[in-house]
Each structure stands twice: as structure tokens, then as C-alpha cells.
């Protein structure tokens, strides 16, 4: 996510030059109508996006080698309006687009609509300085093109969902039984600042993956299978992790409260106040969070969520 990026890729060593040449050969860029110069330009742009300014040539080499060269060349050639590239793209991904959209929306007509809309963006309906801009120009080859399409569609789906929810009137919300913020009742509970500080300390000490699992399971109410799929591990691994975290968190918070001068009994009482199951409806939360600063900012910067 390095924003400053590499300032220049001039003065390349012979080794890096050879790697870039090799990647270009593998990318089939020539077949798709993408010249070597254009492809090198794309690589430079990707390096500036992901590497810090002081990156050495070895970092460049590692980054370039890790890219999906063929899919990158295909996407960029499509963005440049090369017909041959579009033929290949449509042969490979047209049906996939509809399949993915159906999977994301769980409904065929909505899926078709989403896929059509994404296809229009991929083809490039928006213009900048009189030129057609294709969304495919933002693909950088870090993951597969199919995975990127899936992510782009997921972002678009969420944006649409929120937009839709904003248009639903309060009456309709009430009729549908959508509940507004549980935050009020939570805010009503006065919490000892020491408990908050102890909890923050314990959470901060957890590895990011553990915090992700906790948030996904207890806040978003995702299933173990969904979390496992996102992390690419077996469901039982997540099951064990959730159990272990639930047990250890309590112990660690009690210990942290002890370090803050609470007696064992006081610490237990402070936690016992509201040891309850956490159930938050992710859908209503998403609807309520429609004004979330960071995500809105992202949307403003790049329409389907190209955040950086």
C-alpha cells in the first residue's frame, strides 16, 4: 500500500531488464497488442503504487515476478481498446462475470444487472479528458484477474445495497422490522474507564488475524465456514481459534484489570456486568454505516472502491 512509490525505474540493471523482458514474453502482450514500452510503463506504475520510494531493484524484481503477467497484459490491452484482447477476455470471463454476480447477489436478475453494470465499467463508459476510461486499467496483476473481478463486483454490490437502503423510508424500515442502532442501549451502560483501557490493551496485543476472527464472528456474525474461506484455512481451525480466544480474552482482561489496581473480585464484577452474547445484525449495521467516513471517501476517490 505504499503510496509514495518508486519514483523512477530508469537505470535498470541488466538482470532486471532481463526479468522484465522475460515477463513481457510470458505475458503475451505482443499478441494482445501491447508493446514492450507500454508494458514496461505498466510495470513502473505498479512499482510506484506498491513499493516505497527507497525500494531496491531486488524488491522490484520480486514484485514483477509475483505479478500475473498474462492477465495483466490482457487487462491493460483491453483497457487500451485492443480488439484481440477483448475477444480473449470475453471468451474467458463473460460467463464467469454472470456466475460471480449470481454468487454475490444470490439472485439471478440482480446478478445479471450487476454483471451488466460491471461490464459497462470494464468496457469504459466514463470519459476523462475526452478519453474512454476502462476499469480494467486499475488491475495490477497482484491477484488473479478473476479474483479481482470478484472483488470489484463485491464492492459494487455493497455500494448499491447501501444506496438502496438510504432510499428506503423510515416507515418501510419499521415495517420490515429493521432495527436502528443498538448503540444507544450500549451507550447507556456506564463502563469503568479501567475496563475499557484493559480491554484495549488486550485487544491491541492480539495478532491482527485474531482480531479479524473476533470481529468477523462476534460483530459481523459470519459463520465459521465463511471466515475460514476468507482466510483460506479449514473451518475447524477457526472453530478452535474462536474457542481459544473467547476463553483467553476473559483471563487476560482480568489480569490487566488486576494490573490497574482492581481486586480479583472487583475485576470479576466489572466483567460480569454484561457478559452476554453479542449479536449484531450486519445488514442493519451496514445500512446504518452508510455515512462511514473512510468508505465514503474511498467511493469519492474511485467509484467502485479503488481506494488507493
Amino acid at each position: 500500500m505504499g503510496k509514495d512509490g518508486v519514483q523512477s525505474v530508469v537505470g535498470l540493471s541488466a538482470g532486471l531488464e532481463s526479468v522484465m523482458s522475460d515477463i513481457y514474453q510470458k505475458s503475451r502482450g505482443e499478441e494482445f497488442g501491447l508493446s514492450r514500452g507500454e508494458f514496461d510503463g505498466v510495470l513502473g506504475e505498479i512499482a510506484r503504487k506498491y513499493l516505497p520510494a527507497d525500494a531496491v531493484q531486488r524488491d522490484l524484481r520480486d514484485l514483477y515476478i509475483s505479478l500475473r503477467a498474462e492477465e495483466l497484459a490482457l487487462a491493460r490491452a483491453c483497457a487500451a481498446g485492443q480488439e484481440r484482447a477483448w475477444e480473449v477476455f470475453l471468451t474467458r470471463y463473460r460467463e464467469k462475470l454472470y456466475d460471480i454476480a449470481g454468487y454475490i447477489t444470490k439472485e439471478s436478475s440482480a446478478g445479471r444487472e450487476l454483471a451488466d453494470s460491471i461490464y459497462a465499467e470494464l468496457y469504459g463508459t466514463t470519459t476523462r479528458d475526452g478519453q474512454r476510461t476502462s476499469k480494467l486499467a486499475s488491475y495490477t496483476g497482484r491477484g488473479s484477474l478473476e479474483g479481482w473481478l470478484r472483488t470489484v463486483m463485491a464492492q459494487e454490490h455493497i455500494n448499491r445495497y447501501r444506496k438502496q437502503r438510504r432510499l428506503v423510508s423510515l416507515d418501510e424500515e419499521t415495517e420490515e422490522g429493521v432495527q436502528f442502532a443498538v448503540a444507544e442501549s450500549e451507550a447507556a451502560i456506564a463502563v469503568d474507564p479501567r475496563v475499557e483501557a484493559a480491554t484495549d490493551e488486550v485487544l491491541a496485543a492480539l495478532p491482527p488475524e485474531d482480531r479479524f476472527v473476533l470481529a468477523s464472528y462476534f460483530l459481523d456474525e459470519r459463520t465459521l465456514a465463511e471466515i475460514a474461506r476468507t482466510l483460506g484455512v479449514h473451518e475447524s481451525t477457526i472453530s478452535r481459534k474462536v474457542d481459544k480466544l473467547a476463553k483467553s480474552l476473559r483471563k487476560q482482561i482480568l489480569a490487566a484489570l488486576g494490573r490497574r489496581g482492581m481486586s480479583r473480585r472487583q475485576a470479576h464484577e466489572a466483567l460480569e456486568v454484561d457478559v452476554r452474547d453479542l449479536r449484531v445484525n450486519i445488514r442493519s449495521r451496514l445500512a446504518q454505516e452508510s455515512g462511514g467516513a473512510a468508505f465514503s471517501k474511498k467511493k469519492a476517490e474511485a467509484p467502485a472502491g479503488e481506494g488507493s
Binding site: R142, T151, A154, L219, L224, H234
Partner: protein, 354 residues
């Protein structure tokens, strides 16, 4: 369901969304596990604080099978559905033919073998019925390997090439004189695994060589064994050989199996009283453990289950099992809710506690 103090949820929610969102490229690479350690940690750090990105990442994650590289295949005779159903049909024909042939031979072998039952039984490894169990489950790895062959046409081609040599080896084993010891027989049992021109055929070749060998040496005992093995083969044949089952535990602790790469899941009834919390699957061999030290084992992809009661130093396992690991069919380890480890080196016959 595990619970956490409510304050933890409040503080998790209170953590501000800081920094910029990872772009679609990074999120998709994260889901595909294509990021380096540094970037993966950065993305995880953000995801742990950002509901929106968690939602996107979750929607982006699909089954591995769906995320496989796109191959533009020309439809026609060699298309996958045709090959798959053709293989299943061929399998059923071969199995039914073998079962019919065995029925015809049965009376002759029964008459010739009664006197030799006892010595043959003595040949079988004694209390280590693990090996005995292994023999019952021997055809299973065959279907495992066939399944792989079914998925990869290259494998089929290479195995077809290797076929004649393996068949010859199988015949040699069948012709070898002398008493049969199951341990000695095992290497030759694996020979037919690499010659499945038609899925299921390897099982039959294996069965026939076993039967021939048994007839020459042990007669009646193996004739009995043969009928058992035949029933094993026929019941295994119920499972389409091209499908390796996938397993998962639902959030309420029931065991589920998928025979179609995770598209649909069926609940496998093992025990009503147990909440399962850990499983280990190795081909068609599956172990599942849960509350109160309940441990169940199936060596046929969940069609039959045996409850295993681990006892070490005279003490039975009663704590919840939260981890099950089996490196092969014999060696395994259990982890309990009290952080104890129980190990077995004989498929659960005996257990040790360090």
C-alpha cells in the same frame, strides 16, 4: 456458541477505521493468499477494523474449485460430465460383474477350505486388529487414488502406460507360494492402485489376486475374508470413485460431508449426544472428536462409524476433544480442552499421554 465479554465487542467496534482501504487488487490477492507476509499483516490489520472491507473480502472468497484457473475447453465427447458419468457407469458394470463371478465361485471354495480355517486365522496379526481393520479398508485408498486419476486426465494416461507392468506384478504376487501373512501381502496390495484403466477396475484386480492367493494357501479363512472384502468393495462402490469427500463441522457441532467439492453439504449422523469440535480427514479415513471425550472413526468416508474410547494409564479420556490430527491412518494426536495431548500409533487401539 463461544461468548466474549460484551466490553470486548464494544471496544472492537470502537476501534476507528484508520488509514486508507486496501484496493481491490490487494484484497483479491489477500483472499487468494497471494500476498507476502508484510502486506498480508497490513491487510489483516485493516480488515480487523473495517466492517466494509471484511464484507467485501468475505463476498470475494469463493470455493477453491471455483477460483481455479479458467480453462477454455472445447465441449464434446471429452467434456467432463461425459467422462465423469461414463466412468461411474463403467465402474458399476465392473463391480456388478465381479460380485456375480464371486457368487458363482463361492460354494466350491467353501467346501475346500473348512479344515484350514484355524491356521489361517493364526496368521493374522493378533490383538493388533488395526492391521485387520486395515485389510478391511484396503480398497479405500485405491478409490482415493482413482479419484485423483479421475480428476487429472494426465494421471490416467500415465497410469495406463504403467498398467501392464503393475498387472504383471500383481499376478506374480498372486502366484507366490507359501503362507499368507497380511503384513507381507500389503505391498502387493498397493500394486493394482496404479492401473485403473477404468475406475473401480483396480479394486477388482486386487480382489481377484487376493482371492487367488488365499485359495492356494489358506482356503476357507480367506474365502470368508473374501466375502467380507467383496461386500466392502460393493459398498465402497456406492461412493462415486471420482469424488473425494470434503468434511466440515457446522457451528452447532454436527459433522457434514460434501461429495461435490463443497457445493452442497449433508449432515452425517454420528452421535446425537455429541457436539463435535474437531476432525481429521485423510482420504476416506475420517476421525471426529468432541464433547466428553467422544471420538469416532470411519474408514469408509463416513458410511460406518466406530466409537473409540481412548484410555491411557488406566484413565479414560473425558475432557472435550478440541483438536484431532492424523498424519496417516495409524498415527494420530488428540488435543483436549485441558491442553492435554493423547497420541496413538496404532489407529486408536492404544493411547499414550505424555
Amino acid at each position: 456458541m463461544a461468548e466474549i465479554p460484551k466490553i470486548v465487542g464494544q471496544r472492537l467496534r470502537a476501534i476507528a477505521e484508520v488509514g486508507e482501504h486496501p484496493d481491490s487488487n490487494l484484497l483479491s490477492a489477500f483472499v487468494e493468499r497471494g500476498l507476502g507476509k508484510r502486506e498480508r499483516v497490513q491487510v489483516l490489520e485493516h480488515l480487523s477494523q473495517c466492517t466494509s472491507c471484511r464484507e467485501i473480502a468475505s463476498l470475494s472468497a469463493t470455493e477453491v474449485a471455483d477460483a481455479a484457473p479458467v480453462v477454455v475447453a472445447s465441449p464434446g465427447w471429452t467434456s467432463w460430465p461425459v467422462v465423469r458419468w461414463g466412468a461411474v457407469a463403467a465402474c458399476l458394470v465392473v463391480v456388478s460383474a465381479v460380485v456375480t463371478l464371486h457368487h458363482k465361485r463361492e460354494p466350491r471354495q467353501m467346501a475346500a477350505s473348512i479344515a484350514e480355517v484355524k491356521p489361517a486365522t493364526e496368521m493374522l496379526p493378533g490383538p493388533n486388529s488395526a492391521i485387520g481393520k486395515k485389510s478391511a479398508s484396503l480398497p479405500l485408498p485405491a478409490s482415493n487414488s482413482e479419484a485423483k486419476a479421475g480428476f487429472a486426465s494426465k494421471n490416467i494416461a500415465s497410469q495406463q502406460k504403467a498398467g501392464p507392468a503393475n498387472l504383471e506384478a500383481g499376478n506374480n504376487a498372486a502366484a507366490a507360494p507359501g503362507p499368507v501373512e497380511m503384513a507381507d501381502a500389503r505391498p502387493s496390495l498397493s500394486q493394482p492402485l496404479s492401473q485403473p484403466e477404468v475406475p473401480g477396475r483396480a479394486k477388482d484386480a486386487f480382489m481377484e489376486s487376493q482371492v487367488a492367493q488365499a485359495d492356494r494357501t489358506t482356503g476357507g479363512a480367506m474365502a470368508k475374508k473374501r466375502s467380507m472384502l467383496a461386500s466392502e468393495v460393493s459398498s465402497d462402490a456406492l461412493l462415486p470413485p471420482a469424488l473425494i469427500p470434503r468434511w466440515t463441522l457446522s457451528s452447532d457441532g454436527t459433522l457434514q460431508r460434501s461429495l461435490d467439492s463443497g457445493r452442497t453439504w449433508e449432515t452425517i449422523p454420528v452421535s446425537n449426544q455429541t457436539t463435535f469440535r474437531a476432525l481429521a480427514a485423510n482420504g476416506l479415513d475420517i476421525w471426529v472428536g468432541g464433547s466428553g471425550g467422544a471420538l469416532f472413526h470411519s474408514s469408509d468416508a463416513g458410511q460406518r462409524w466406530t466409537q473409540v474410547r481412548p484410555v491411557a494409564n488406566g484413565e479414560a479420556l473425558t475432557d472435550d476433544i478440541i483438536g484431532v490430527e492424523f498424519t496417516d491412518t495409524l498415527h494420530g494426536k488428540l488435543t483436549t480442552s485441558d491442553d492435554e495431548s493423547w497420541a496413538t500409533a496404532d489407529a486408536g487401539q492404544t493411547w499414550q499421554k505424555p
